[in-house]
Symmetry: D2
Subunit: 331 residues, 4 copies
């Protein structure tokens, strides 16, 4: 039966779309490449690595090439997994050569060059028609999926700030050799960084919350570095309007995400980091605070490399190519 | 020179006070025993372990005995490191037999039997004269040391809740064999537990904040389990009064803790977990939030087994015995 | 296309075989259940957990039942993932009721009740016709796959012992609550256990090597506990005959495993633990020792829960059921 | 009493010797600086860091300077904790200016410039009179302390190789930013490196074993990288002469190390990594192999940064300065 599928895939793959992954030896690039290798109708045709050019891609018959050697005109979709600052320009060049582009950096998230902000659960129709998509940052993905239905339903008290205490595994910081990311530094440690709304995701969060609410939403964002490889868990203190509690929050989520495959609603229990690692989901759970109306505590957990990066990029590409959104994605 | 010290110690040790550690094979009991072995004028005379009775105490010439076999009348000070529920009764029995007692469980923290709440930096004079001290819980230690000077100086806006997002290493949960504390469960995970002010430390925090403020202080307490052995880092969102910022917070701390050896004030940088592990300190740092007056974010970091348990217990015992408070404590 | 596959699967699944997993809440049982959920022609029909009976199986619509409530007569294949000592009896009962059985414990590995030792790459034809299979232990799997082709080709000097220095992640020790497996004990540690050929896998290794060699093969087996969740890496010091080096070892492996999907031969590089985690493979690599003929050092790496347990069990079940051996197995 | 000691120390410290640590921001340099800060009669006067020059040394009133700014003529002892290749030249310059020198790199371990190989338990008298000492490598320390008494007593069968399967925490690889040492690479991994006697410690081991045995000793050395910060555990397969077993091995160790404070002999149990971390000891334990005479398995465990580097360097410096060997060393 698997063989049958593989045969069907081989047949169909004569028509498989060709993908290029720019920056395929970083953590999110490698994750994306792994997903593409099992994708039924997208084929990884090019993988770039400046340092590794010429070498073999692990677990594949491909060899790394330089980005400048990718013939964008012969590629259906380009995923740009390069560092912020380098990514945008290459994405635009690929787009200029006719490829569809999903840029995983923050370079185009402000709408530069008409890029669509690609959070499918919130802006699916825009993504579907887009040729250039900016994939959301990892931290914002969880925050926006938490808040969007609550803002839409008027459940939040916007006079008080949303407080997001976030913790991320180290792969979120990329695979460049930095002293502060050495095992000897990170192991047995836990630390805050970018406190006081100084993290580079803050403008993206502010902009997107404002779009959802139609007005500015005050928030405090406090990222922390966890001694784990992957996963983000955000503990979110939501100021809610009078009479709003866990039940209303859960109802708003159910209404918004009832049909969504990649948002998981937990009830009576809260998601942990490990419950989501390796899967393309954001898991949401809520708890009330005894004796304190006006506050609901939300836990949003997801894999920074999957729903926070490569998996979401694939959702976007599937939509842009007219494929089924969930093709090639681990449940 | 070390030899000189050791000789002096030996001489003085003819007068060394004798200590008993009840529950010496748990994490905080073992930590305390280690501290006592290097204490210049307190000598570990008895260490109990019900399961390990008869066996040798690692790194010592002592053997574990059963709690019932400790002659409390021949002991100067008893440290009770037993599980909540078991500890209080034994502490009272030891006290009845004339020993000074520091109880590390939560059994007596509500003042039962006249026990003094032993957070020396806040209530030193009470501890000095006490014969029965309840050692504070680990989480409350950081919260109270953060808040006390701010409440005293009127810097907090008590109409809004203090939000404490806390993360602890697993030794805080003790050394009993529980499935959820297995390496296979905890490694690569991070999870919230006891959300919504349901953790057993909540009444202790509420009670102590109320004592400090002279009125109830609203707060939200959200503990999380970190995949590390030791250390607590609390990210505390402090609602501050008009015109109050990081400078005022730091000034209040400096005034309160200027002469304290075991509170470390960080400026311009925030303490991380690893910066405090193994040391008897609470490290405090503060950050403002860009564009959001009325909020200061504090990071309080400390070792749950040292300043959060055994080290603080030793501070208390030193005070009760009329010794110098810092004797035997790692700086 | 995936949908096409799913439809085909649904159609075929009218004929899907029904599987029961006994002990489905332990680490290898849960791993196996996860594999079955994605298996195209085997369906997890029953999952047992004595402690968790009545509760929902994570990520599934199944509920745990007690082992005694599984109607073995209505099941095609039973996987017994229970502790050694409990497993064998239940396996025999299931077999008596007509089910095919793969027992993952050590209870039947000595051939009790005619059980076939199920290491497919070495004894595939016996497995194919078997109704009762004893799944090999994790450690032996790597040792036997390393040594079998070398013994067959006469490359080993059997007068000197094979030395196996093995290191395993903690899931190999199961999910029972034991103090020595707590995160607080295992983290930042590494230790030998069962040195001097006292580990319970020693008789299994001895027996199987003797079968392969037609005579006793001397060996030393030294397991160690790694502070990781999963994976085994065995560093094996192979005494080789005159004139034998890495090239001859690799050639013997290539000849034996050229057509095998689940044995991965590395050349010029050695497999690491992380290169195999989550995959159903044993990866083998070899290195010579400068200036020391007569010795080849082999590294065998594999995931103790996949090729060392659940994945191999599925290979066996596929063969017993007449399915394609690789169905449902991650590459 | 502690105060008394501190006063005595202050008095004596008028005569304290002045030390310089070259490369004080690396792992072993920082460890050494920490030890010096508590040393009763050695005072850290200079700490160098090229990258950090001008910045404050954590936990100290010192500031980092550049190595070229250290006035070696005003310093009693210099510890060179620089990378191999850079260290030797600076050590010789410091020696030329009159300072005593302990070089922790491998640059002088072959006796270059008359450097004495500083393993005090084996060559104490040579160290005592030396002005230039090469501190042993971490791995060799455990191997040599294991083997020396066995070679001296004629217990080893030198016709068969000693096999050393070693595992080290990552701080052994230094604190330079290297991609392969990132947390994201090392966590949840375990791997061999430098197999086949290609590790740079091999010549040092060969040379020192030959000195001890008066002839070449065949050995195989296989280092592995553990996902922990610190600690080395070596599992050593010792070929022993006819009639030699664990008892004879332990007796030889007892005779050699009976009076040694920094060699710990375990009996009936084997040392684990965590039992030695933070302490200046090598712990040794031995096990026989059932049914296999001629082989004893030894476990040697020690902290690579303490007895494997900074602690041993301090032993050497104490001896060179005529101080008590154990001054300033954690037991």
């Amino acid at each position: 039966m698997l063989d049958a599928c593989i045969n069907i895939r081989t047949m169909l793959n004569r028509n498989a779309r060709r993908a290029a992954v720019l920056g395929a030896s970083g953590y999110s690039g490698a994750e994306l490449l792994g997903l593409l290798q099992r994708h039924p109708s997208l084929e990884p045709a090019f993988a770039t690595s400046e340092a590794g050019a010429g070498g073999r891609v692990p677990g594949s018959s491909l060899r790394y090439v330089r980005a400048e050697d990718v013939p964008f005109r012969e590629v259906d979709v380009v995923f740009t997994c390069l560092p912020h600052g380098e990514a945008g320009e290459l994405s635009l060049r690929a787009r200029g050569d006719g490829a569809l582009v999903v840029d995983l950096s923050s370079d185009l998230r402000d709408g530069t060059a008409g890029a669509v902000y690609g959070l499918p659960e919130l802006w699916r129709s825009q993504v579907r028609g887009a040729a250039l998509v900016a994939n959301p940052g990892c931290y914002p993905t969880g925050i926006l999926l938490t808040a969007a239905p609550l803002l839409a339903a008027g459940l939040m008290d916007r006079s008080r700030p949303l407080i997001v205490n976030a913790a991320s595994g180290v792969t979120g910081a990329g695979r460049s050799a930095k002293r502060e990311l050495l095992f000897g530094q990170v192991a047995a440690d836990y630390r805050a960084y970018g406190l006081g709304n100084t993290h580079r995701h803050v403008p993206e969060i502010a902009r997107s919350l404002a779009v959802l609410a139609g007005a500015e939403v005050p928030f405090v964002f406090s990222p922390h570095l966890l001694p784990v490889r992957r996963g983000i868990l955000e503990t979110i203190y939501v100021p809610v309007a009078d009479g709003v509690g866990v039940a209303e929050v859960e109802a708003a989520w159910r209404q918004a995400y009832g049909g969504e495959r990649f948002v998981e609603l937990w009830h009576g229990e809260l998601p942990s980091l490990r419950s989501v690692v390796g899967r393309n989901v954001v898991a949401l759970g809520a708890a009330g605070v005894a004796g304190m109306p006006g506050m609901v505590v939300v836990v949003a957990a997801f894999d920074n490399l999957v729903k926070g990066a490569a998996g979401q990029a694939l959702q976007n590409a599937n939509l842009m190519l007219g494929l089924s959104e969930e093709e090639g994605l681990p449940q």
